[in-house]
């Protein structure tokens, strides 16, 4: 790994005014320095975004749900920094809380897909050529081609929108790319000397998988999981946009976009702001993924 100059870290952390705790700032700085620029930028944006979303209920200037029909569609002002929507609700406040649902669902979905997919992929890859591997691969071949939005629409139509339905329907398809990647990486690892040595020593199957295989394949898979995260953010948004995700009156970026459609000519910011929010969120995780991907590739460049 990378060796940093500690004194440099202390000096730099003192320059970070946003961080209340010194130790945390130091650790963040250590974590970031020397990484690819897209990774650094992405992490900073994502940390800021998640912090805002968590703190949102306490820092919003107005109650995001309170309507004020007297002040409908008002332009940005000192009172309403970004103006108000068609029901007179404060756009800025709604923007601050509007990512909670989407980001949470996307995050949980990716985490689940990552875990399930990696485990299945590694187990299949360890038993490559066997019946279990064949079946898994064929199932993945088939599942991977099914659009996840369609599965989500179908399940939401029947069970109604909600966290569980959305997460379940996106994970049912979502684990397949992880499994395919994990299997491929495991196959490459199978041939390595240390795995064969562990096999000769009689290490158990699960021990080899947990101690030798997973730690060695986790970086490229982590890179992909951030790329998938961006994809999921947009998919969840699409469902909300269609009215199959978050239900009104809760604030949500995609829902705000949908609501803004009739008024876009009068007040374009109603559409520009939430769209930009989704874009920035998706871009930040994509950048993190890209940075990790480059590191994973340069880390073991002899492997391709």
């Amino acid at each position: 790994m990378r060796i940093d100059n500690p004194s440099q870290g202390v000096a730099a952390s003192a320059l970070l005014p946003m961080q209340p705790r010194h130790a945390a700032a130091l650790r963040l700085w250590r974590f970031l320095s020397g990484r690819h620029w897209t990774f650094r930028t992405g992490v900073v944006i994502l940390v800021a975004l998640v912090t805002t979303l968590i703190l949102a209920p306490w820092i919003v200037p107005h109650d995001p749900a309170v309507q004020n029909l007297m002040a409908r569609l008002s332009a940005p002002s000192a009172e309403h920094w970004l103006g108000t929507d068609h029901l007179g609700r404060d756009l800025f406040s709604r923007l601050l809380v509007g990512g909670r649902f989407t980001v949470t669902i996307a995050m949980v979905t990716v985490l689940l897909s990552f875990t399930v997919g990696t485990l299945i992929g590694v187990v299949a890859g360890r038993g490559a050529g066997g019946v279990l591997d064949e079946i898994t691969m064929r199932v993945i071949d088939v599942l991977i081609s099914i659009p996840d939005v369609v599965v989500a629409i179908f399940l939401v139509a029947i069970f109604g929108p909600g966290y569980a339905t959305l997460i379940a329907s996106l994970t049912v398809i979502g684990w397949t790319p992880f499994a395919r990647l994990a299997r491929g990486l495991t196959l490459a690892i199978n041939a390595q000397g240390y795995i064969q040595a562990a096999e000769v020593l009689g290490c158990s199957r699960s021990f080899i998988i947990l101690r030798h295989v997973i730690p060695n394949i986790i970086r490229p898979i982590a890179a992909v999981s951030f790329l998938r995260f961006g994809h999921k953010l947009i998919t969840v948004g699409a469902l909300s946009f269609l009215g199959l995700g978050v239900q009104p009156p809760a604030a949500d970026w995609a829902l705000m976009l949908a609501d803004a459609q009739p008024y876009v000519e009068r007040l374009p910011i109603l559409m520009i702001a939430p769209g930009l929010a989704i874009f920035v969120a998706a871009l930040s995780v994509t950048w993190i993924g890209h940075g990790l991907e480059i590191e994973a590739r340069d880390g073991d460049s002899g492997d391709e």
Binding site: T38, R138, A157
Partner: protein
């Protein structure tokens, strides 16, 4: 090769059976009473006459045991009869057929645009890794991947339809109506195609036969055109198919925004109307078609690659 295809067909059949069972059963286990749903969707009234419910139940054959119902449904589905829409009363299969045509047109146009931009761009980026074109391409890919189409589409309507008046804002009447939705829809696949092309071309351009071709006096351009593209575009074929399948129902947001009567909108309206037969039929046919397209793509990949074709692949 053939055993793999057979295996695949077998799994495919089993999966389809599973999906159909899911599509059939889920509305029942979810606790909703389809008859009530139908009647409610028709009369928009919560107080439904119990006698009418009973009559409807018998009329629809819903009084029979579930396995019998499933058998009948599956049998009819296999014969192209997916029942009648609760909402419109028209045959589901007919509606789906019409919507599929629209969606395939839209998807192929979008993917065509995507490939037309992505393949040259990805190739160009691969010839000078780390160069200006490559860096700009990477940034473009990341931007397109992160742009929600349900944001870009209304903005596009605002600019090109409402302000400039160049293109219609919605509908499915002339080819001009196809331009805006297809372009918006093409950006994400364009980004992914570019990435895949770039990676594939980077591999190919390091291959020994590229050096050999250059040693015969081909310029870099000629080498890429004659030997690079064909080898480098093989992975793109698989990708193209995955996206084609994905866009058949996955373009739902675009279809709703632009009022395009395609598969996605059909599903969306089925959800809004709680139109169970339409939902089941649409779901099963999209899944079946996705799987089919993907299988065809795999065979196409084999057909395009002479070494795999005769079983010399590693």
């Amino acid at each position: 090769m053939w055993t793999r295809l057979l295996q695949r067909l077998l799994i495919l059949g089993l999966m389809l059976l599973g999906v159909s069972l899911l599509a059939f059963l889920v509305p029942y286990v979810s606790g909703g009473d389809p008859v009530r749903t139908i009647l409610m969707s028709r009369v928009r009234d919560l107080a439904v006459d119990p006698a009418a419910v009973e009559a409807m139940r018998i009329h629809l054959g819903l009084d029979r045991p579930l396995p019998v119902q499933y058998g009948a449904w599956l049998w009819q589905a296999l014969h192209g009869d997916l029942g009648y829409s609760f909402a419109s009363g028209r045959p589901v299969a007919l509606e789906i057929g019409r919507a599929l045509g629209v969606s395939i047109t839209l998807a192929l146009t979008a993917l065509g645009i995507a490939a037309a931009v992505a393949i040259p761009l990805g190739t160009l980026a691969a010839t000078r890794p780390g160069g200006t074109v490559d860096s700009a391409t990477t940034l473009m890919v990341q931007t397109f991947v992160a742009t929600p189409e349900y944001w870009l589409a209304p903005m596009g309507i605002l600019v090109f339809a409402l302000h400039l008046g160049w293109l219609p804002s919605a509908g499915w009447t002339s080819w001009t109506a196809l331009v805006l939705p297809a372009t918006v829809l093409s950006l994400r696949p364009m980004a992914y195609f570019t990435q895949v092309t770039r990676a594939a071309m980077m591999d190919v351009l390091q291959a020994p036969y590229i050096t050999a071709a250059r040693s015969r006096g081909l310029s870099m351009r000629q080498t890429v055109m004659r030997h690079g593209l064909r080898n480098g575009s093989l992975p793109v074929v698989t990708f193209f198919a995955l996206w084609l399948a994905g866009l058949l129902g996955g373009s739902v947001v675009i279809e709703v925004i632009f009022a395009i009567p395609g598969m996605g909108r059909l599903l969306y309206e089925a959800v809004v109307n709680r139109d169970v037969p339409m939902l089941q039929g649409g779901f099963v046919s999209i899944v079946a078609l996705s799987i089919l397209i993907n299988t065809v793509a795999d065979m196409l990949y084999v057909a395009l690659n002479p070494a795999v074709r005769s079983g010399h692949a590693h």
